[in-house]
């Protein structure tokens, strides 16, 4: 399979907590094609960030495989990963306020990845490469000596993007890159990410809780709930043909900026719990309005219902339109 850049197979990441084993990412399987964007949606605590950081090897996976161009990067020693693959997979962080060292100037921040990864380059070469990156992401040259606290959110996020891009990665994990930004800035950053993807053939994994953003930028969308992937399908299909009850509820909960669209929502009861020592049952059963005894006794597997549309629900057929 040449066209898949990344194949994730049964990836698990458990954390041990005082209350038991937290199944942050549980048996997640998916593929990402080269040059495409997969959107990962879910509420806070559903494991979407952990998934991103596990792919980056910022967390060591508990088990499972991550095949990057056919090589398993999940099980290789961390040293080898850092040496050969770190620059291929990069990450853009959620909070541009917290993810930049406050004691470094803009230029220093953009220089850092270039400097630590290319020891042979001279100072001047590093700086000129950093300036190139700044130009690429639309940071004016006069901002070089500014510090992150003087800049607005959009510019800070551009620094984050420049840092990630300066290593020439092929795959970028975008962990809620626009959630902390205002809408007008959000549009600038989303456009920038799209332009960069077109220019450089980048592959994105776009993690967010915002359905409208994910729909705009993704080719495929995967919905996560309590560490599991419960639905995965092409982006336009999830809005036309939502199958999993949780995805339906998630979509119906979004406030739509149209006065005439005031609709009766499907309001879920209860809240997301944390997946500590989960029982073998459907994790959504407690909040699902359609749950039956089967849901509470048996864990549904992700299965292909239609071409490219996978759902983890016992009664998925019932919800197909």
């Amino acid at each position: 399979m040449e066209k898949n850049l990344l194949e994730v197979k049964n990836l698990k990441k458990y954390f041990s907590t005082p209350h038991g084993l937290l199944h942050a990412v549980d048996n997640v399987t998916f593929n990402i094609e080269k040059g495409k964007t997969i959107g990962i949606v879910g509420e806070s605590g559903c494991g979407k960030s952990t998934l991103g950081k596990t792919l980056m090897r910022l967390h060591t996976p508990t088990s499972g495989q991550v095949l990057y161009k056919g090589t398993d990067i999940a099980s290789m020693p961390i040293k080898e990963f850092k040496k050969n693959y770190r620059s291929h997979i990069q990450m853009i962080f959620q909070d541009p306020y917290a993810s930049l060292d406050p004691r470094m100037s803009v230029l220093q921040l953009v220089e850092e990845p270039i400097r630590v990864n290319n020891r042979k380059l001279s100072r001047a070469e590093v700086s000129s490469k950093a300036r190139e990156m700044m130009e690429l992401v639309g940071l004016a040259k006069r901002l070089e000596n500014s510090y992150p606290h003087e800049l607005d959110g959009g510019r800070r996020q551009r620094i984050g993007i420049a840092r990630a891009l300066s290593l020439n990665p092929e795959f970028i994990v975008c962990d809620e890159p626009v959630s902390a930004l205002d809408v007008s800035i959000q549009a600038q950053i989303l456009n920038l990410l799209q332009d960069l993807q077109e220019q450089r053939g980048l592959t994105y994994m776009f993690i967010t809780h915002d359905m409208s953003v994910v729909k705009h930028i993704s080719d495929d969308i995967a919905v996560m709930y309590l560490g599991q992937m419960i639905e995965k399908c092409p982006a336009d299909e999830i809005f036309r043909d939502t199958i999993h009850p949780y995805s339906q509820a998630l979509l119906s909960a979004i406030p739509i900026p149209d006065v005439h669209a005031r609709h009766d929502r499907m309001v879920l009861k209860g809240e997301l719990t944390s997946p500590i020592n989960p029982k073998p049952c459907c994790r959504f059963a407690a909040r699902c309005p359609y749950a039956t005894d089967k849901c509470r006794a048996e864990e549904p597997m992700l299965r292909e219902l239609k071409p490219n549309h996978q759902v983890a629900c016992h009664y998925a057929e019932k919800f197909v339109k």
């Binding site: 959009g154 809408v183 549009a187 809780h209 359905m211 006065v259 005031r262």
Partner: protein
């Protein structure tokens, strides 16, 4: 026309520090009728929260100053009240909900006590009565009343926000100011909270100011809507008017920059440039540098608020083409 509960006139609020003067709120006018919900939308730094704190008279000491204006609440000017009088108004007549429910609650007191405390303070009733009221309030916001003896950490984020709302509503205030009440919450929880707030508002007839940056929330909740930009209200009207027929170029651009769920666009519309520095606002239109519809007046004078249709105002020169002529005198004044 209902009764006017709040009338903010020409309000100007500055933050003064040794380094700079931030013009946070510039001559805003707002009206709110009893039983209605007013949405205050705008981006970070537009002055939404400052307006709310100004109304509550909770601006940070020494730094925040009301430079001019009036805040008429039920016909009385809040700015003329003493701190003592304000204390009896806050919580009893006007309540505020803050963005972060995690920090708004006292971690070492039971939630029942925290609700009862407000009731006791304002209604001068016995502890037992107050606790009974606290349980009623919990039931009203959808929490089992028996949990009144539990501490905040035993509740989840959405539940805490419900408790904060219960505290705010315990004395049946006439006006509730909610500052981004659902921003810290997930969408499904946000849906629950908004649903509950709307239900409570209908049942009790509370007037509400809802501060948010989410146009979707405004569309679903509000009767009237005010769009703020750089400390000014650039557009005000009934929510349908503002959403169906936005008049100010900023509102229009904002509307276009949100990715839509049902339309496919390849590239999003972008508002060029950035918000001007609030410590150095121009004398002319604050939005003019980013505006696509500006004319020669925009960079010279500050536009005034124009009636574009009944009850729908916009602060833009587009709607006064005859400006150079007769209106010049009024503008210079």
């Amino acid at each position: 026309m209902g009764e006017r509960i709040l009338d903010v006139k020409d309000l100007v609020i500055h933050y003064e520090t040794d380094e700079e003067v931030v013009e946070a709120v510039n001559k805003i006018n707002l009206t709110l009728e009893r039983g209605e919900i007013l949405g205050l939308v705008g981006e970070t730094g537009a002055g939404k929260t400052t307006t709310a704190l100004g109304i509550m008279r909770l601006l940070p000491d020494k730094v925040g100053h009301v430079i001019q204006g009036h805040i008429l609440f039920e016909g009385e000017d809040l700015l003329g009240k003493s701190e003592r009088e304000m204390r009896s108004i806050r919580g009893k007549k006007i309540s505020m909900i803050f963005q972060d429910p995690m920090t708004a609650l006292n971690p070492v007191k039971t939630v029942g006590d925290q609700i009862a405390e407000v009731v006791e303070l304002h209604n001068h009733c016995s502890k037992a009565e107050a606790l009974k009221r606290a349980q009623e309030m919990l039931a009203m916001v959808g929490i089992v009343p028996e949990r009144y003896r539990e501490y905040p950490h035993q509740f989840s984020g959405g539940m805490k926000q419900r408790i904060v709302i219960a505290i705010a509503l315990a004395c049946e205030p006439d006006l509730l100011i909610a500052d981004e009440p659902t921003t810290a919450l997930d969408v499904t929880i946000q849906a629950q909270i908004l649903d509950m707030m709307r239900k409570l508002q209908r049942e009790n007839g509370t007037s509400m100011i809802l501060i948010t940056h989410d146009l979707g929330v405004v569309a679903e909740m509000c009767d009237h809507c005010a769009v703020m930009y750089a400390g000014e209200i650039v557009e005000f009207g009934r929510t349908e008017q503002v959403f169906d027929n936005p008049k100010h170029p900023y509102t229009q651009a904002l509307y276009q920059s949100i990715p839509s769920l049902d339309k496919d666009v390849h590239r999003l519309h972008v508002i060029p440039g950035m918000v001007c520095d609030p410590s150095n606002l121009p004398e002319h239109c604050s939005f003019c540098d980013r505006c696509t519809k500006k004319n020669e007046n925009c960079a010279k004078h500050d536009p005034w608020i124009v009636d574009v249709e009944k009850g729908h105002y916009a602060k833009c020169f587009q709607y006064t083409p005859e400006w150079e002529g007769s209106a010049a005198a009024a503008g210079e004044e």
